[in-house]
């Protein structure tokens, strides 16, 4: 049982760069998500069901549907994201991985960013791809539907990023799921407004670029700030 050979194989110093940390966390979380039965399908199914329920429940008048559509599609995307957020850190917290992440020589914000990216790839991106197809139920034309896809592509990462801060803050808290929703939903209101507003603008014949630019700005700010906030919240949770 010599660890001598082991040490010889590993006798090289390693750079603790954020990029390496990001890819490690992203690859690992994606692999776990793919192998967890039902993980990838549940949010998507939820989204499809919620979006399809509205035209059934409300008066199916075309103009009204088209007016409701963007808002409904956005709110459903937010709810689908919220559904999977508690699991972002809870699994790692339960099996001791979170402590190893926090004690790793790699920067914790970079590790957290990788996890958030994996979360978006398995929740936000599929929603952004599906939404234009589902929007057909709301009598939206092609250009609004394309705008919806673009807005969701910009906005769903923001939902994942903001949600990660909420998930980190509510780690280990009893009833954390509802507290998480209370924390995250108000923060996501600007994304909803700009995102739905982009589609409505295009429907009114106006350009969507102001709204999309604002969404891109939200994404930039969130991408830069939230990993550090989430990392700080994780360290507090481990204290």
């Amino acid at each position: 049982m010599s660890t001598g050979a082991l040490r010889a194989a590993l006798d090289r110093p390693v750079d603790f760069s954020p990029g390496r940390a990001f890819t490690w966390a992203l690859a690992r979380d994606l692999r776990i998500a793919v192998r967890t039965k039902g993980e990838l399908g549940v949010q998507l199914l939820f989204y499809v069901i919620v979006v399809s329920l509205f035209p059934l429940a409300t008066a199916p008048e075309r103009t009204l549907l088209a007016m409701l559509g963007p808002g409904v599609l956005w709110v459903a995307a937010l709810l689908a994201s919220l559904l999977s957020l508690p699991r972002l850190f809870a699994g790692d917290h339960a099996d001791g991985t979170l402590e190893q992440l926090a004690l790793s020589p790699y920067p914790l914000p970079a590790l957290v960013s990788g996890k958030i990216a994996a979360h978006w790839l398995t929740t936000g991106l599929p929603v952004a791809v599906l939404a234009p197809l589902l929007a057909a139920q709301y009598a939206l034309e092609d250009l609004p539907r394309l705008t919806l896809a673009a807005a969701l592509l910009l906005g769903t990462p923001v939902l994942s990023l903001l949600g990660a801060v909420g998930a980190a803050l509510t780690l280990g808290v009893r009833g954390g799921g509802s507290l998480l929703a209370l924390l995250v939903l108000p923060l996501c209101v600007p994304v909803l407004i700009f995102g739905a507003g982009a589609v409505e603008a295009v429907r009114a014949g106006l350009p969507a670029s102001p709204h999309l630019s604002l969404l891109a700005a939200c994404l930039l700010v969130a991408a830069v700030g939230t990993p550090f906030a989430a990392a700080a919240a994780i360290r507090i949770a481990l204290d």
């Binding site: 660890t3 082991l6 090289r12 603790f16 692999r31 204290d239």
Partner: protein
Amino acid sequence: MRRARPLTSSVHLEAQHLAGTRGAARLFEDVSFRLDAGDVLFVRGPNGSGKTTLLRVLAGLTQPSSGRVVVDGEPMQPFDARWRARVAFVGHAPAVKDELTTEENLAALLALSGEVASAEAVHEGLRAAGLERQRVLPARALSQGQRRRIGLARLAAAQRAIWVLDEPTTALDAAGVGWLAALVDSHAARGGIAVAATHQSLPLQRGAPASLRLG
């Protein structure tokens, strides 16, 4: 960009008047000791006496309610980058993901520790841990003791000067306990420091380790 420091540079770990609380309960007070290269400290005490809290303070996970920890001559705040580069912490839960295979788990832990997780390194680690036959099994098929062996294989491979181990013998069989003792022995022989909370005595060959009693 930081590099892992070689184990040959001397290491010191000093606790100065540490006090720990959990909620309103004061667990321990005025705990002080100094450990130099090659020292092994066993922390003993009844359940609830604060062993886990003390170990988490020593690993840099938790702020003590008073006192401070000095690593390599410098007092440090929890999660200090220099501290993280020096310490390996083994907690109650072995940080093993059910959905990954045994070798994927070890590779992930090695990479997270900043080691190069080459295929040969992972194979050597699994062989040392006695887990070669379970290599491609998902970790959910492993027993608790086998999961703990993965964590210990990571411990053996990571180039860390300070080992903080919270009940590392949990779920280990006699062979596993012997392996752990051998690991601690060789770690101390190379100039490392080990602090362990353990109910079970580790059969160390390096003579009687220091003992700290809480509670």
